[in-house]
Structure formats: structure tokens, C-alpha cells
């Protein structure tokens, strides 16, 4: 069985006086349900320019059978200029802003055909890298 694990550690030496912060969590990424591992991964990198208002990093499947499935999303803004940001929206809902060097990891809901992940550069061209882990994706019918 596919076994993909995602782990996070969050630490700080100076956030809490007299008490070092240390949060650790690990989860095994599963398809909808709790027993079957993921099988699909899309991974890459690119440069996001400010030329367009928003770009779809991934579009939701048009097939209803692929909806309400488990999907996981990692995105990192590799810009080194701290005035360059990436704005992130899912299904037209603003969810976050990645400053230079920052990353995010969330399970997201491919709830319907409009549930795409949109990213927008602000301040300047942002190099980025991403990985999307999906549990379902039906191949589209051939057109030629």
C-alpha cells in the first residue's frame, strides 16, 4: 500500500518565557476513508509573474466522481525579496499569503468543479515549488 507521510515540527526558543515551544505532528496521507493510501502526485516548480491577476495551479476535476475526495497541497514561495508574496485562494476563497521563503501544507476539498487552487504573485516574480497529492483523478476522454 502506498504510504505517504507528512510531518511538521514547529519550534521556538524565545516565544514563551522559560518554556521552549516544540510542536510535532505526523499523519499518513490517505484516500477518502482511513485505510487506502494515495496513488497520484503532481509536483513541480515555476515562476509566477505579476502579469496576470490569478493563475490556476490546479483545476478541480470536471467529473463529479472525483469530487469530495482527499487531496493534499504543498506550496512554497522561494522568492528571496521579502516584498514578493504569493496570494493563495481555494474555490475563490482567499486562504493565505506566502511571504518570501514561506510554505503551506493543507488538506483541501475538491468539493466541486470550481474548487481550483488559484495563486497570484504580488510585488514581483516569485519562484515557487509545489506538490499535490490526490486520491482520485479520472482520465479525460481522448479528443483526437
Amino acid at each position: 500500500m502506498a504510504t505517504t507521510t507528512a510531518s511538521v515540527s514547529i519550534s521556538s526558543n524565545d516565544l514563551q518565557p522559560g518554556n521552549r515551544l516544540s510542536i510535532n505532528a505526523t499523519s499518513t496521507l490517505m484516500k477518502t476513508g482511513l485505510t487506502t493510501g494515495l496513488e497520484l502526485m503532481d509536483m513541480g516548480k515555476g515562476h509566477l509573474t505579476t502579469a496576470t491577476a490569478a493563475d490556476a495551479l490546479i483545476e478541480s476535476s470536471a467529473l463529479a466522481g472525483d469530487h469530495d475526495s482527499a487531496n493534499y497541497f504543498y506550496l512554497c514561495n522561494n522568492a528571496t525579496d521579502d516584498t514578493f508574496h504569493i496570494l493563495v485562494a481555494i474555490n475563490a476563497t482567499d486562504v493565505g499569503r506566502l511571504n518570501a521563503g514561506e510554505w503551506m501544507f493543507i488538506p483541501y476539498a475538491q468539493a466541486d468543479a470550481g474548487a481550483e487552487i488559484n495563486i497570484t504573485a504580488s510585488g514581483g516574480t516569485c519562484p515557487y515549488e509545489y506538490a499535490i497529492f490526490k486520491s482520485a483523478s479520472t482520465l479525460a476522454a481522448a479528443t483526437a
Binding site: S12, D94, V95
Partner: protein, 125 residues
């Protein structure tokens, strides 16, 4: 005050080339902040606000504990929403998320079809 989050993703069984990468960062944060806390997600998100409105955004960590109260297991899914009730993520038992949240000046809330204990922390950007 510095916050250091590290993400590691590994998989050596799904593909012929193993996945193994890690990314870290050092974040400057300020108050208000909430260290690790728990809440029982209610059926109405507005009753389970975990991050108050913040115009500058917050770094948030949210984890589904897999239980209703720290003891009794549950498979109910937790919906993670902005405080205008728009959902942007869902957490199954044991899953977690970390992101720099910014959506206007909205906060973050959680809800579930039945009681789920959720662990969370946030730090203001």
C-alpha cells in the same frame, strides 16, 4: 520572536523513485498568539472560532485529534473555514495543516457534523 516550522514529506512505497523532501523557515511573529490549545468543534462554525480576526494574518496550526474528547475515537471530518463560513480545508482523523492565513481580516473557525476535539495554535504575523 522567531517561529521555526519544518515540513517533511516521505514516501518510499508508491513510486519507483522515493519522495523525500523537507522545507523549513524562520518566521517573525508577534502577539496576540495562542500556544497549543484544544477545542471541541461544534456543528456551527461560529461557535468554534480558533483564530480571531487579524488584518495582518496569522500562522495557524490545526490538528484533528481523532477523538471527540481526548478519549473516544471518531471518524467525523472537521471543516476548516474562514469566519464568513467559507470552507477551505477538511481534516480527517489525525491530519494536520499549517499555513500563513490571510483572508481580508477574517479569522478561522472549525465545525464538524458531530463533536471532534481539535488541537490548534496561532501566531500573529
Amino acid at each position: 520572536m522567531a517561529l521555526i516550522p519544518t515540513l517533511s514529506i516521505k514516501d518510499s512505497t508508491s513510486f519507483s523513485d522515493a519522495i523525500n523532501f523537507s522545507v523549513t523557515d524562520s518566521l517573525t511573529v508577534t502577539s496576540p498568539a495562542s500556544s497549543l490549545s484544544t477545542i471541541i468543534a461544534a456543528t456551527t462554525g461560529a461557535n468554534s472560532i480558533i483564530v480571531p480576526a487579524a488584518a495582518t494574518g496569522t500562522y495557524i496550526f490545526v490538528r484533528h485529534t481523532g477523538t471527540t474528547n481526548g478519549t473516544t475515537t471518531t471518524s467525523a471530518v472537521v471543516l476548516v473555514e474562514n469566519t464568513d463560513d467559507t470552507q477551505f480545508a477538511n481534516l480527517k482523523p489525525g491530519e494536520w495543516m499549517f499555513l500563513p492565513h490571510l483572508s481580508g481580516s477574517l479569522g478561522v473557525q472549525v465545525q464538524a457534523a458531530s463533536a471532534v476535539q481539535v488541537e490548534y495554535a496561532y501566531w500573529t504575523i
